[in-house]
Amino acid sequence: MGVTWNPSGRGPGVGQFVAGACLAAVVAAGMAGPATAQTDNDKIVAERVAANADKFNLSMVPEIKNKQKITVVVESGFWTDYLKQAMIPKFTEKTGVEVEVVGMSTNVMYAKQQVELLGDTGGYDVLSMEAAYVPEWAANGYVKPLFDLAKEYDPDGADGMVTFLKPFYAGLMSMMTYDGQPYSIPYNNYTMGLHYRADLFANADERAAFAEKYGYPLTVPKTFPELVNAAQFFTRKAGETLAGQTLAKDFYGVALMAGRNEQINDEFSAIIWGMGGDWFRSIYDKTGKLEGYEITIPDRISAVAAETYLDLLNYAPPAAKGWDFPEAANAMAEGQVAMVPFMYNNLWPVTASVEEKVPGAKAAVDTVPGGRPYTGAYGIGVAHNAGNPEAAYWFVKYLTSYEGQMAYALGGGNPCRRDVVLDPFFQSPDRRLINGAYAQNDADTLAWTYDVAKKGHFTSTAMGKIYSELAITSAKIANKEMTVDAAYKELADKIRDIQDRSGNAPILN
């Protein structure tokens, strides 16, 4: 079928033109140079690394004997791009090992990698693991224990690895540990915070009106009733005033991730945990061995939590029932809501961008109401059947080193090492819109140090599946498809079913 000139009709001509234009644009623009912001970041990283020469960095990687190419799974987005453009070329230059990056959206990370692991294809050397899948993959032997890897390939040995892991948050490390061995090193901290419009909370008129209506001063909500009140207070229709200005569009108190995604249950978790409750909790015997789990729902706490969530939904945009975290964060960025009460702090760059979009807006972050935000991290580890475990190990170490996490932070990520998070460089005012949530996040992540092990959430090997069921139940409740009690009962049965069928420890009650 050749390309022919058809003078009788515009059809083929238009089609060809569009296709041709696209191709030309691609070819032309594709050759364009890389962003200059990146080279600035490279300089900063180099400076910081030089200033912290005692910490492990790329130059300390020894000669890698196995030069086989490694395949690395990474969450898609700026990180994949940065890896491909900056970090991997450096790694390849130093070690002579080529790296192929496979970017995946977080939606499909679990399923896709699981498939490869089950298929025993050896296709991925370095895996991206969310806290929820670590126990499962570790228990099934899909991931190489880090200490074993360190003993085999690292001149510093397992002790060296212990020292390397010291700056990481104990809570996050605990999630990446199974049976005493760390299997993955966290690099992306998604502990939640309450992101809010500080300018609205500081506005004198609003403060006066709030105090008059509710009888106490307007403060950043620390309890759930305070949250509901503030949400209710700030929900206004178009035409009403907000902070002295007339609203052109409806404004809402909160943005929620109430869509059919696995984030709605994170919001439920934050509320349930904040109220002192749980979905199911881990029970250990005297020697510290995991005996099993006790399912606590349905109980009064979880019922009140559900009712609170339903209340909050009244003060969220109707579209929230289809939202995932990007949309919820964007709602604040676009100036549509006063607060996002449960927002992953690694999305701070998005919520804080409201300052650039809405004149007079000021973004701030605080601990979530209840003080028990959903917490967790993405980590990377080495697959059990990696073709080149040696290079994979060093890649993992490089990525999570001070140097690697520094680059990650500069790009807008939320790192998991305290020495990077607390670095004064990120505290400066001009970095506020990108790294401004670090200090708050630090405090909140630390608060989880001891509680992580108590939650079934972070210890069950069936958590990947249970997590999905939590999301479905939460979505059903939010959509009023079932009564709260019936939904929780159904969920309890499902958790029992899943844990019994494919979990590591039995349900004890």
Partner: protein, 313 residues
Amino acid sequence: MALDTSSDIPIAGRPAARRSAFGRLLDNDASFKWLLLAPAILFMLLLVVYPTLFAVTTSFEKYILPRKPSFAGLDNWRWVVNDASFWTAFGITLKFVVIAVVVEIVLGTLIALFLNRDFRGQTLVRGLCILPLVAAPFATSLAWRHLYNSDYGVINYALQAIGLPKVEFLADSSIALYSVIAIDVWQWTPLVVFVVFAALRGLPKEPFEAARIDGASAWFTFRRLTLPMIKPVLLIVAMLRLVEAFRVYDILYGTTRGGPGTSTETINWLIFREGFQYFDLGRATAMSVLVLLMVLVLTNLLYQQLVKAIREG
């Protein structure tokens, strides 16, 4: 149809003695017809028979990857039959399939009738109308996601411009399913249009001339003449669409993913979750076999109608 006589070998008098064993095999009708089917059968054995057998046998096993399978009798089946979410999903799927296919057939036929005339630019119009069909469903579902959005979507913008309230196409559980059906209709109606159009073009002119002379109304002509003649085609297209609609996935992936709540969770989505996220193959295959049986029944019904229509036609 004339024989292609452009070859240089004379037509008559080719020696019959040169028949090889293979040639004899070919000559024999009975063996020839099976020989023709040989590649297809091989193909089906590998890609069809094996997965089906696998599905059927696994449905009787407790098989949760990566553990080894163990015989579980009717456990999976009992679970499937009792599982509320399965039947809800089945109901949703049935609703989706019936509405989508009926709308596509009716709308497609109407459009085909509408286009069944010669007009200037008809090639261009037809070329443009086929676009929804050829664009990857996954890609277009993402475009629809943007269009449906209640804040920045064009559809809501248009609605508000004429004074109607905003509609949460994808976030309102009572209409999310219809929004998704609309995407499917948009995508596949062109297929019906073109198939019916081609059939209309192939219809004999005389009966219609006669009807026109006799002063028959458009509706009468359609009901008594057109419809019976294109019935077989409509049934075939309905069958193909039915089978496809049961398997809808790409559109859901780009838009609702089973939500809000479980209002767009179709059977395929549920099975995919069970088999591909939970890796509970026993349950996933039990559900699949059940669905397969139901689809077979439905398709068979249509097939019988089709055979009848061909015989009558």
